[in-house]
Symmetry: C2
Subunit: 324 residues, 2 copies
Amino acid sequence: MNPTELLETPVLIALDWGTSSLRAYAMGAHGAVLAARRSEHGVMHLPAGPGVDSPAAAFEQALQALCGDWLADHPSAPLIACGMVGSAQGWREAPYQPLPSREADLAEAVTRIERPGGQPLHVVPGLLQAGELPNVMRGEETQIMGVLQSRANGRHTPSRLLIGLPGTHTKWAWVEDGAVTRFETFMTGEVYAALSQHTILGRTMELGGPQDEPAFARGLRVACSKLGALGVLSTVFSVRTLGLTRQLPGSAQPDYLSGLLIGHEVAALAPALRDGPAVVLCGEPELCLRYATALEAQGLPTPEIRSGVTPLGLWRIAQAAELV
Amino acid sequence: MNPTELLETPVLIALDWGTSSLRAYAMGAHGAVLAARRSEHGVMHLPAGPGVDSPAAAFEQALQALCGDWLADHPSAPLIACGMVGSAQGWREAPYQPLPSREADLAEAVTRIERPGGQPLHVVPGLLQAGELPNVMRGEETQIMGVLQSRANGRHTPSRLLIGLPGTHTKWAWVEDGAVTRFETFMTGEVYAALSQHTILGRTMELGGPQDEPAFARGLRVACSKLGALGVLSTVFSVRTLGLTRQLPGSAQPDYLSGLLIGHEVAALAPALRDGPAVVLCGEPELCLRYATALEAQGLPTPEIRSGVTPLGLWRIAQAAELV
């Protein structure tokens, strides 16, 4: 058997096209993932060279390189994509849509990119929360729809959900009756990287060791107690001073800092978290477990954890757009 | 007249020896600065090459290069230094001293480094605040003594002061009856640098323009109002989203971020600031003015601003040590 041959005919080619990678999913009836592939051709790392004479050509070539066989073998399968491919730096900008937003709103707003000799690509828009402190997401709206889709079958879905999406920029989205009504962003992951790589705190940190759960718990405890009252700009200095006073070895400092930052984030959200919505965490499982530990340390119920739901979200939006 | 000749005989050679620079002051009777010099030979940038066969030799050579003429012409003038020269990476470690601490406590704890063929160097120790979140300072203890010395003549000094020392790591020190009783650290300056140089926020920032006071005030307002309730990990993302939504040009983003960070710091300290001590800011004048604006925006009285007080602080400690 040809290794590129699919056992079932795909009815949708779904793309998760971010800054640093491109993931493609061949999806069968009922949203099953028949095959998944990944390349390094994120929006910021597109192919160059002969034949790539325009941004559009670079995007097309990246797509062909990853799944040209799927496109050739199944020329009638529609294409849908989410992520930075729809940003101003992407293939074409898919303008941010306002709140509240359901899958039908996203489906109605998809940007259609014609592809000579093939199916057009439908790009899911991001979301914009207007206000004095505006907020944006691009890609996470599809993950949220994926969480909703993953809960749609065989179980009662509460009318109110708070979905946490831990990552470089952690998003928290409030969902009511299937519509995103509000969301917030915390730059926790990127601040962790900047502090550990580009400040004095990194000088004594030993990165790369095994996870140090007590150190993480200690950071959480500081951030969520009276000790954290002066805020994160103050508490992070304790990474250094606990090291100087030989109370925290360099190997424990990375997880202590992680606990401090996630703890400050969760402490800031505590009033909203206590407000009663069921919490679902969605993202890289190890990072979600850190957030789950932080929620439990605040006396909150253990959240559900989901990951890999982007194809399900693309499926849900493709259904609403009547592509499948 | 030889340009190196002093008009008055110095009675103290005082050194402010930090990480990135060395400053020397020839001080006359009553603590007047007769002459000041600066070199790049901070603790992390010492001279190397022939004749420098040990760390001590490198420190001695840096000292000779900057003020060997003073030492030769005035061989009986005592020497005192503060700053990173007394750290574990310095000429010799001057161990941190506990709180509360007055000039007499610092004077008693100076570390004496013998210098063959010259006066010994007396190194002022730093301060350590023990506790679950320990805190350290090295160099700032001398600036605090300088503030006290600068207020000692001709005016009533309140028994309680809160001294803010804005910088890479901003310190806030509570002083009661001339003794440092408590202090806190905020990594505000270094976090500003890390965020603007090593995160996505820097991509849209235009650095190097003139100061944008309305943008700074806007950042303060966000941090100190309900908008800032989710904390700095959340509000900093608005640098990007206000840019994306064309509400804040790239040229305004650096000062907006500065306002956000200083605003969060001052908001965290607001309870202590409202507690009544007179506030004095000490440091680089432009940065002190930013903090003064932040305090005024919180409805607090305009603080006094001092700068260049390190030689006065060294003088005060040298007096207590009976070096002058």
